[in-house]
């Protein structure tokens, strides 16, 4: 962070600077809130899927407020919500946890991961995480005074995390493995076979696994990725982290959950108590209604994501831009709320951008008034790619893809000169 010279002598500025010096610069989410778009800009960069809420959800929250449920809830969360989360995990992902003491409602995915890291690692411990990965993860590891070791996700592997990439990076200090699937930003999932190898590795080296599955529910139809927490050999060492911000559209409510073996989960819960006591009561009621009352709405939302994906993939295919992520479904379909596209083949554009994904995003914002998230924001492995979010309205996506094609054609016609 930068401090204005005029404030450098103030006592608080000195303290902040001293602490920051011990840490290195504070730069979590340095991209935030860069994605704010002006009128007319089409924003495909958001990593959450806000939407107009179904009436049943609004009504459930309204009723809870009118009943006077405006006080602390049970520390781990409303029993009914924990029960619903446990049911969902069992039905959809074959993860079996006891809602009474193995599920905790959090203020979102990031709180869950942050707290789990704080509890699981000691200063200097190594945390293996994929590259590319969610942009806030590095800072979360650093705040726990851990060291992040990046295992690359390679386009040639469809961005699937490979056990061998993890194995090559294990040391005596390796303690935690973070799996993000479906992956943010690539959208890829890990096949059951590869997960088995990863689980065996984790058991062999006694690694604890944080399975960030915030993007769950985003798959087409009923198909899902395989969760490592559903493998018997990994269940006892895995904390699953989930979110209501993505598929369920409750990002502004800040609600998610974590689940796993009782002893670890209760310790993380104690840490949560120290940080936020419990999660907002009304946010928990909104999440409960989402899980129990609005199945048709969720199906429609899932279908809309499928349509959005087709729109974007068709445009990318027409431009010859690769999107190598494999979804982990039986038929290899790519199915997630993001498309991670290699934009380097647009040679005329690359002549302008030098192949930098940040420069490409700037170019697209200027030339097409479309905002996407540059891949390098998510780690070195994302360079050359951009993340396109499938959450915006279909009409916005269609228009954005038209503009992309138009801008690419214009760059081509201009021969790489702006």
């Amino acid at each position: 962070m930068t401090l204005r010279a005029a404030t450098l002598n103030s006592p608080t500025a000195a303290a902040v600077a001293e602490r920051a010096a011990a840490w290195g610069p504070l730069d979590a989410g340095s991209g935030w809130p860069r994605c704010i778009a002006h009128e007319g800009q089409l924003d495909l960069s958001a990593d959450y899927g806000d939407t107009t809420l179904p009436e049943a959800v609004v009504k459930t929250v309204e009723d809870s407020l009118l009943r006077g449920e405006t006080h602390y809830t049970d520390r781990p969360g409303l029993p009914a919500l924990r029960e619903a989360v446990a049911r969902k995990l069992a039905a959809d992902l074959h993860i079996h946890v006891d809602w009474r003491n193995e599920v905790v409602i959090s203020c979102g995915e990031q709180e869950g991961v942050f707290l789990a890291l704080q509890v699981l690692i000691r200063p200097g411990d190594e945390v293996l995480a994929p590259d590319p990965r969610p942009e806030w993860l590095d800072e979360s590891v650093r705040l726990a005074r851990g060291v992040l070791t990046a295992a690359p996700l390679l386009p040639k592997d469809g961005f699937e995390l490979k056990a061998e990439q993890i194995a090559a990076r294990l040391t005596d200090r390796s303690r935690v493995l973070v799996l993000v699937q479906p992956s943010n930003p690539t959208g890829a999932a890990i096949s059951a076979g590869e997960l088995g190898r990863i689980a065996a590795l984790a058991a062999d080296r006694n690694l604890t696994i944080i399975a960030d599955e915030a993007l769950d529910e985003s798959f087409a139809g009923q198909a899902r990725h395989t969760s490592i927490a559903s493998l018997p050999e990994a269940a006892g060492r895995t904390i699953v982290v989930g979110s209501f911000s993505k598929f369920f559209g409750l990002a502004s409510w800040r609600v998610g959950y974590f689940a796993g073996p009782k002893d670890a989960v209760t310790t993380i819960r104690d840490m949560k108590q120290a940080m936020t006591i419990c999660t907002s009561a009304m946010a928990q009621y909104a999440a409960l209604a989402m899980l129990t009352q609005v199945n048709d709405w969720l199906t429609a939302r899932r279908n809309a994501l499928d349509q959005a994906r087709e729109i974007v993939l068709a445009a990318l295919d027409a431009l010859g831009l690769p999107h190598p992520a494999r979804g982990g479904l039986a038929d290899g379909r790519q199915a997630s709320p993001y498309v991670f596209a290699d934009v380097r083949p647009l040679r005329a554009v690359s002549a302008l951008t030098g192949g930098s994904s940040v420069a490409f995003a700037d170019w697209l914002r200027t030339e097409a008034e479309v905002t996407v998230a540059p891949g390098s924001r998510f780690g070195l492995g994302g360079e050359g790619f951009v993340r396109i979010s499938l959450w915006p309205p279909l009409s916005d996506l269609e228009q954005a893809m038209r503009r992309l094609r138009w801008a690419a054609a214009r760059a081509q016609a201009m021969g790489g000169v702006r």
Partner: protein, 394 residues
Amino acid sequence: MMMHTRRVSEDGTALRYRMMEMAKGIKDLIALGRGDPDLDTPPHIVAAAIDAMRRGEALHMPPPEGLFELRHAIADKLRRENDLLVDPHTEVLVTTGGQEGLFLLVQALVNPGDEILMPDPRYTSYDQAINMAGGVMVSVPTYEEDGFDLRPEEVERRITPRSKLLLLISPGNPTSGVISSANKRRLAEIAQERNLLVISDEIYERFIYDDAEALSMAALPGMRERTITLNGVSKTYAMTGFRVGYLAAPAPVIAAVRQLKITNSRATSAISQWAAHAALSGPQECVEEMRQIYDERRRVMMAGLDEMGFVYCRPKGAFYCFPNAASVGISAAELCYLFLEEGHVLIFPGNAFGEKWGDHLRISLLAPKERLREAVERMQRTIAKHNLGRPRPA
């Protein structure tokens, strides 16, 4: 299970939650434990939350620093009630409850080995924030005979070259003590002389009784640039379930804490922020009404404590009593378990708020006065049944 977990120390917080777990399922329980107001959130605040939801405010992810409208309402409130001028754009941050504010602040300001001076007894939920940053807690004793005011000389004598922060909670939890304005002024001088930063937790500021004053540390001369004011709407407006607090501090602190907030929780729930906005910018009569209710309850409980022969200092703020129950001859923890198991009254023992307070009880005044009276009678019956505090029959 083979996970390596870093122990969260088995401390006062764990003790409190263990007792709350035990109390679950007791049908006629009188819960005088957790500091969660039993009074309803004022209806205009609930209506504002519903209205915000109905007009689609939940569609927008709030910025990490908090909604523009709420930051302005906070700045207005601080000017109006605390004589404090802050810039809502750079000097205010909305947090997910006051506790997140403290947690993030400590992470932003404390290096391993830095010392944090804080009064004893203390709200132990803050311990973990300090431990996580590697900070060293330095307890400053407070005394029953002072009404748990904080003696500036006790702070001064514990300052070392590693002292960085002075954490003040006034009115205090668990003691309900209030730091007098004279002592605050002296503490402000000490902070400036010895280059300490001050975190002033003012979450109970609106509930003060008798002749007590709630002076804001940041409003004292020379203190603005070294004080972080921590507050929230949970206690003042009986809205703990909304999870909204806030910090007001010099811009560099807010900028650093904002970055941490992006990593930890990204933002505070939008609808909760609109409810907090209604609380701070709407009619304030509800606060005085609640204060009078707590004041009345305080008197009921003090009368009961007199009957039981407990020594206590008159609570000057917040909504707790912190009597000394040494006269019963057993530890407060044992006594609280008896009260819970036999009298069905949930009270926390003082050792949940610091190791030295094993004779004390923290009684929340968060039940109607008839129920408080009933609680006193149940406690008296328990004491009589076990012949506590009387010579045992030969």
